[in-house]
Symmetry: C2
Subunit: 211 residues, 2 copies
């Protein structure tokens, strides 16, 4: 059994790497099999072809990613909500950093207007929306934001969280910054933390200032 | 001549649309010709094939996009730098909103780790870096930021500017927000304006508060 799991993982890793370099449509089953050093028949057997392999990548990513959000939402009843939000941010950054190639693939695929991707991700992304809303609404307790403002705040937070991983190559080549480094997560987290404090929680904070 | 220009534009529009739906590798010259209602030979004649067409899209986008940044950098000597920065932000949002399909294509292609895209865009993205740095360094005159902080601020600003256009479908389907609407630009601009004031200029402002 151990060998089989390892073959599956090898295939997935080869696929992630090639999809990132050549694009999904530019990569054949044969390319993946060659890189993974397996027989092409294995890919059909384990994943029912190239689309199944892409689906597997998306599922792997979103199942883990949403777990971090769910964990923190479930802690809202017991802990300071701004801590829960920030811990979710930190966990998601770390997860993406540890899986930077998979993250890039997923965020790029999600930007494509294809029926397949839409079907696979719409459930995950609706769930993601629900969880972010829970966290942010709890964090800005004294709610001076409109519903439309909250949508925009979540969109902004999401863009801050995903962009470095979607554009890993840009960060490396233009800025000499490496999103897969532990150092990056620590440093970048501080900036999002500032954004949460200054941008998101500011209105609440201002209300709290003793006059 | 007019007819020729129009044919070129029709081909470009068909290509942008199909690249967004099927991906670059998933789209053939034949598909584009069919959608544009032209003879496939026209595409070879005008663009030297599919790659030439993609290059044309990237060049069209970046030439316009960088002009907005250049304009504001050249005004830095005459106007308040935070105004220049904010005007650049507004112009870039409007430009992307008016060309939302092209914007999505470009930002997605740039995220791909391909040699071709790397060569075409590295010059543009290095120039973009230079111009953003000029604008942001001028805006935060009383420079309490380190060089590494400025890199991160630019990366954050870029993610806020590009994400809604890269993920137009996500915004539509999950949030019922339409980045191609004028209303979106006005509303979203306010949020980035807040981010610039609270996150980016905050340190400077705090120094300016009369005690």
């Amino acid at each position: 059994m151990k060998v089989k799991v390892s073959t599956k993982e090898t295939i997935i890793e080869a696929a992630i790497s090639l999809f990132n370099i050549q694009g999904y449509d530019g990569t054949s089953i044969r390319d993946i099999a060659k890189k993974a050093k397996v027989n092409p028949a294995n890919i059909s057997y384990y994943f029912e072809g190239k689309q199944g392999l892409l689906e597997k990548c998306l599922v792997l990513f979103f199942e883990a990613y949403l777990t971090y959000l769910e964990e923190e939402v479930s802690l809202l009843a017991y802990e300071r909500p701004d801590y829960c939000l920030k811990r979710a941010v930190y966990k998601i950054l770390s997860f993406q950093s540890n899986n930077h190639l998979l993250s890039r693939l997923v965020w790029r695929e999600v930007s494509l207007d294809s029926q397949i991707v839409r079907e696979i991700t719409s459930s995950y992304l609706m769930k993601e929306r629900f969880l972010y809303k829970k966290l942010i609404e709890a964090a800005i307790q004294e709610n001076t934001y409109s519903i439309s403002d909250i949508s925009f705040l979540i969109i902004q937070l999401k863009s801050l969280l995903t962009m470095p991983f979607l554009n890993g190559q840009y960060l490396r080549e233009v800025w000499n910054i490496f999103p897969q480094d532990r150092y990056f997560v620590e440093k970048y987290y501080q900036h999002i933390d500032d954004w949460i404090d200054a941008g998101l929680l500011q209105k609440t904070k201002m209300v709290n200032i003793p006059i």
